[in-house]
Structures are given as C-alpha cells and as structure tokens.
C-alpha cells in the first residue's frame, strides 16, 4: 500500500516527507515501548502514541523511516529536525491506536509476528 493511501484512510496529515508518499509499505508494527521497537529485525511502519524525541532516536537506531502518530499527537520542531536528518516520514492521525491498527490491518497491511 502506498503512504498516500494510508494517509487518506487515516484522515491523516503529513508532518514530514509529504514529497515521499508514493512509497510502498507492506508491514506495520504498533507499540509505545521503545525497547520493544528496538528488538525488531525488520523495518516496518511504526504506529505509536509515544510522541517525543526518543521516538525519533529509536527509529534512527532501528532504521525505521515511517512513523504514524495516533490520537492527534504532533511532533515538535526538534523531532521534525532530527527526523529530517534521517530522511524520515512522519504521519499524524486523529484516530486512536485501536482504530488506526484496525483500519490498516483491514486494508491489508501485514503484521510482523
């Protein structure tokens, strides 16, 4: 699925990387626990309610490039700056974690486990 489709389905806005929405993604992982994210060997789209600098740092270490923030959380300027250095794409949806995951799963995004 393209990021453009994901953004549309989630009624989302793009906080960074609006020029890269043609990108195709297949897998999703949802967590608010950064140590959990750091155990991943693959590089799925991350769905998270944790919106702070550590979210971006964690993605840097784990080579994750696409993050969906749920529940209307918006990245701060510091976060956007750091994410930009790592060529990341930040997406913000007003939907809850549960609704976001339900929509993405229903639309064919695959789980890692």
């Amino acid at each position: 699925m393209t990021l453009k489709e994901i953004v549309d389905k989630l009624g989302a806005t793009v906080g960074l990387g609006a020029d890269k929405l043609d990108r195709e993604e297949e897998y999703c992982f949802a967590s608010d626990l950064m140590s959990d994210v750091l155990t991943l060997k693959d590089t799925p789209v991350l769905v998270t309610g944790l919106c702070n600098v550590q979210t971006i740092r964690t993605c840097d270490m784990a080579n994750l490039e696409v993050v969906i923030f749920v529940r209307g959380k918006r990245p701060t300027e510091d976060m956007v700056e750091l994410a930009d250095e790592n060529d990341m794409i930040l997406i913000c949806t007003p939907y809850s974690m549960f609704k976001t995951c339900g929509i993405l799963y229903g639309a064919g995004m695959k789980p890692l486990y």
């Binding site: 626990l33 140590s35 750091l38 964690t58």
Partner: protein
Amino acid sequence: MHQEYTVIEGDFVNAGKASSSVKKTLKQLNVNPQVVKRVVVALYEAEVNAIAHAYGGKVIVDIDADKIHMVVADKGPGIPDIALAMQEGYSTARPEVRDMGFGAGMGLPNMQKNVDKMNVTSEVGVGTTVEMEVNFN
C-alpha cells in the same frame, strides 16, 4: 579509532547522541548495515540505562578494522542482582522513564542478543559498567 561521550542523568533529549554518532562513523567505514544496527541498538539501550537508572556516565568506543569495543560506565546506584536485571520484563524504571517509552525490562536482554561479547559489572552505591563487543565479520 577512539571516541568518548558523556551522558547526563535524566537528559533524555540527548539520549542516543553517542549511538547516533557511532552509527555515522560505522556507515562511513562501510560496515555491514545489519551489524551496524546490532551495534547501535545495544549501545543505545546501554546509554538510556545510564541516563534512566543512574546518575549519568561515560561512553567509550574503540573501533578496529574487525570489531567495535564499547564501554558504558556510570556513577549510580548499581545493580544489586545482575542475573535478575538480565531477565526479560524485570524493570525498576521510574514513571518519568516510562513516559519516555522505556521501562519494559527488555534493554539488557536485547543488548545481550545483539552483541558477540557482553560483561556487566556493578557495585551497589558506586555504579555500573557494561562492556560490549561486536565483530564486523
């Protein structure tokens, strides 16, 4: 190549700076990306622990042609029972640490999984030293 970084207690904004810089260096040295990920994930977890559970400390990194040696040494309360701390799910993280997305009790076991050699030494009331090594090939 020898690098040193200082980490400060509670300074979550800068947590990961050392790991991020090591990542850039290893990329420039054309180390296999999978190996780079193992190195920086382990180092980042150790860095966060020194910031979250101790009173800050030092990260010392030595990079050779075939391996990286990392030491994260902190001044802090120490770990009374290292075997217990190494168990998945064991955590004494404070609420502030949990708010930052940490405190699942997965850091130490994940470090162990990612590195080729790991040694944790700790003295209660003094501090903790985590030594890790990853081979490039």
